[in-house]
Amino acid sequence: MSAVQLTRQGLIGKARLAGGRLFWVAAGVLAALVLVAIVAPFIAPRDPLDIDLSNVLASSSAQHLLGTDQSGRDIFSRILFGTRTSLLGPLGVVTFSTVLGVAAGVTAAWRGGWIDSIISRSSDVLFAFPGLLLAILAVSLFGTGLWAPVLALALAYTPYVSRLARSATLVERDRAYVAACRVQGFGGLRTCVRHVIPNIAPVILAQSTINFGYALIDLAALSYLGLGVQPPSPDWGVMVSEGQGSVMRGAPQQALYAGALIVTAVVAFNVIGEGLADRVGKRSR
């Protein structure tokens, strides 16, 4: 037993040193993005909606750090403001899908039997629907904007969370501390909320972080297709879409910068999610 414990601690030590740097870089990127989203109004040099048709598609200058777009709006300011919608959307998706997924997954595992069957089969059905398709369906029903696609994507992402929550709960349920709770007379709800969910939370958090990245891409894609956030609101997806036309006119900056940010953010979320999953995995084994 002692041997196993030592190995476990030893391995974590090494692995953290090796893979740790990238994790912290990603965390830094993420922190910067969140900060920017919060302070955007204070640091943006211009109003992101301010049109100046006399100065369209300008390249970078002291006045316009990253140049202007096809309507003469300041790209730098639009990118700063765009951080807000680009993070807010995925945050909504992840929050809803996590709450829904944990509730469904834990219930399925805890109750078992026909309840488990119903929950598991419905999540199988949801799995079969591509998230984007579901979002497009929602948009056609409820109209464009941020919230219809966010709710649709949240539904589409729920099975990923619920399946994980279910399997993690099945493992916890068989641990002696859960039996000890039952012997005390604790009800199922209390045991799940106070004991099981806190213990599966790290695994879920890791998955939800990865989902955040994917949701960001999906929402950017919807905006790009014109189904999500609508121009002229600043949003990275919208900016890629709007900047596309200018690429042929020799002004790729808007699409380029917005696209690069989408990629950076998604990679950062992925690295962090995988890193968290790694740590959780090592600790629980």
């Binding site: 641990r175 002696a176 000890a180 039952r182 012997v183 005390q184 007379g185 009800g187 806190p198 213990n199």
Partner: protein, 287 residues
């Protein structure tokens, strides 16, 4: 030691307890096999007394323990605690809570029997809040008292399970079980996962607790020496049946059933002949 066997009212009375598990088969139940884990078990535990359930894996001793605390539902039989009979069917939340105050259990593996995210004091506090209406000062005093009773101090009270050794965790599990002030404590192989030098500490602790609190024990163990130290009566179980029962000392000194004898012979000692034991075991066809 033996006076407890006669003195004291019966606190736990079990009659005709049976449980069959159904395993395998298709989802419609075709081809299922019934395994009788416990067959017609009866016992009478006096207040402050201690009964050992011994046997090997598959003997039904752990199933019996789980039936007694309600982790499994018996197919037949009655369980009476302090004269109140337990119904076999579904129970209400308040009944569940009451049962928690009647009978508690300490599990084998100290590494999984505590919530890894709950500090020692929080764990005990949760149990006190759940069962009793005490104000926070009374609870703090009771937590301190319970932890002191199991030999833990300030530092351990604040610690998470991962900061504690196996023996300390088992002490926490005992404190948490005692927090519900049960009449009966079931010890399911409670010392067998511990280091040898720690086993003795916990056994002594359990002996002290029984003396101080008059709580009664059911000791589930494969270790006959452990049973010798902390029980007055012993039931030897084999494949769901009680094959022999009696006063612990005389049962271990003059075993009547061949299975009990085989268990005793299997204990390693100087001059031990495992070849002969395994030959006898095969001859007796005990497994």
């Amino acid at each position: 030691m033996d006076e407890t066997l006669v003195a004291g009212a019966t606190i736990l009375e079990v009659e005709g307890l049976s449980k069959t598990f159904h395993v395998g088969g298709t989802w419609r139940g075709r081809g299922r096999v019934g395994v009788e884990a416990v067959r017609n078990l009866s016992l009478r535990l006096p207040q402050g007394g201690s009964i050992g359930l011994v046997g090997e894996s598959g003997s039904g001793k752990t199933t019996t323990a789980r039936l007694l605390v309600g982790l499994e539902r018996p197919d037949a039989g009655t369980i009476r605690i302090a004269g109140r009979e337990r119904s076999l069917g579904k129970v209400s939340a308040s009944e569940r809570r009451r049962r928690g105050r009647e009978i508690q259990m300490v599990f084998q593996d100290p590494y999984t029997s505590l919530d890894p995210r709950q500090s020692v004091a929080e764990g005990v506090d949760e149990v006190l809040r759940f069962h009793f209406s005490l104000d926070s000062r009374e609870r703090r005093a009771r937590i301190e008292e319970l932890l002191e009773q199991v030999g833990l101090g300030e530092r351990e009270a604040r610690a998470l399970p991962r900061g504690l050794s196996g023996g300390q965790r088992q002490r926490v599990a005992i404190a948490r079980a005692l927090a519900a002030a049960p009449s009966v404590l079931i010890l399911d192989e409670a010392v067998s996962a511990l280091d040898v030098s720690i086993q003795a500490q916990i056994l002594n602790l359990l002996g002290d607790i029984r003396e101080q609190t008059q709580v009664s024990f059911i000791v589930v163990s494969h270790d006959l020496a452990v049973v010798r130290q902390i029980t007055e009566e012993t039931l030897v179980m084999y494949k769901g049946d009680v094959v022999e029962r009696g006063e612990t000392g005389s049962l271990l000194e003059q075993p009547n059933h061949p299975y009990t004898r085989m268990l005793l012979d299997s204990i390693p000692r100087i001059g031990w002949e495992p070849e002969r034991i395994s030959a006898e075991r095969r001859a007796a066809d005990l497994g």
